[in-house]
């Protein structure tokens, strides 16, 4: 049994390559059928804001990568409820459906469940 990995993504989508690279790691893990989870924390929750327009910055959209997660078998998707609330995001209106909203206690339990944790 492969060891499980929780990736914690905490960078905003337009602040550099961090958000995209975190997603790439998760998608690669999913492609190899590794048990992998993804938690959006701090500014990372901003990746999930609906109706972003990458063209305005002449960049590529992250939303296509986000929508690919379930297709790559990555279904353990979580968002920090506090981070979303602090940034005025409605957890029920995110760009990604089937993402589970967790409070601090829920995230503590989540980290405990995985063999490895990586925070980018």
């Amino acid at each position: 049994m492969a060891k499980s990995l929780l990736l914690i993504s905490r960078q905003a989508p337009w602040s550099g390559p961090g958000a995209r690279e975190a997603l790439d790691i998760v998608l690669a893990g999913g492609a190899f059928d590794l048990p992998i989870g993804l938690l959006f924390l701090d500014d990372g929750v901003l990746q999930l804001a609906a109706k972003q327009n990458a063209k305005a910055l002449q960049q590529k959209d992250l939303s296509a990568n986000l929508q690919a997660l379930p297709m790559f078998g990555v279904e353990d998707l979580f968002v920090c409820a506090d981070s979303a609330a602090e940034r005025g995001l409605d957890p029920s209106a995110l760009a990604l459906s089937d993402v589970q909203s967790l409070d601090a206690a829920g995230i503590r339990a989540l980290i405990d469940r995985y063999d490895h944790v990586m925070t980018l």
């Binding site: 701090d42 981070s83 601090a104 503590r108 980290i111 405990d112």
Partner: protein, 98 residues
């Protein structure tokens, strides 16, 4: 299950320390390395946050604190690199906040 959380960024103008303290489990440890050691600066918000966290198990890389002229308080344990390795092995996993 225990996790060793490793911070290396300055707590001033960055939310890593705040978020880490929010997610820290009772069996977890926190290690300050590099600029994260500035959280020990007396009479600052980061230091107050550390002090306010009940049951905190705190480690600091001694050389990083010394280089920054930071005194290590009695509620933190100064460690060297061999102790860092040992600490990593004593926890189930290490979460480095990159």
């Amino acid at each position: 299950m225990s996790t060793l959380h490793v911070l290396s960024h300055s707590p001033f103008g960055d939310s890593r320390l705040t978020s880490c303290l929010r997610l820290l489990g009772s069996a977890d440890g926190l290690l300050l390395t590099g600029d994260a050691a500035y959280a020990l600066q007396p009479d600052t918000a980061p230091q107050a946050a550390l002090l306010a966290h009940a049951g905190l198990t705190l480690f600091v890389l001694a050389e990083d604190a010394e280089a920054r002229a930071l005194a290590i308080p009695h509620w933190a344990k100064a460690i060297d690199y061999p102790a860092f390795v040992e600490l990593s092995l004593h926890h189930d996993k290490v979460n480095t906040w990159l």
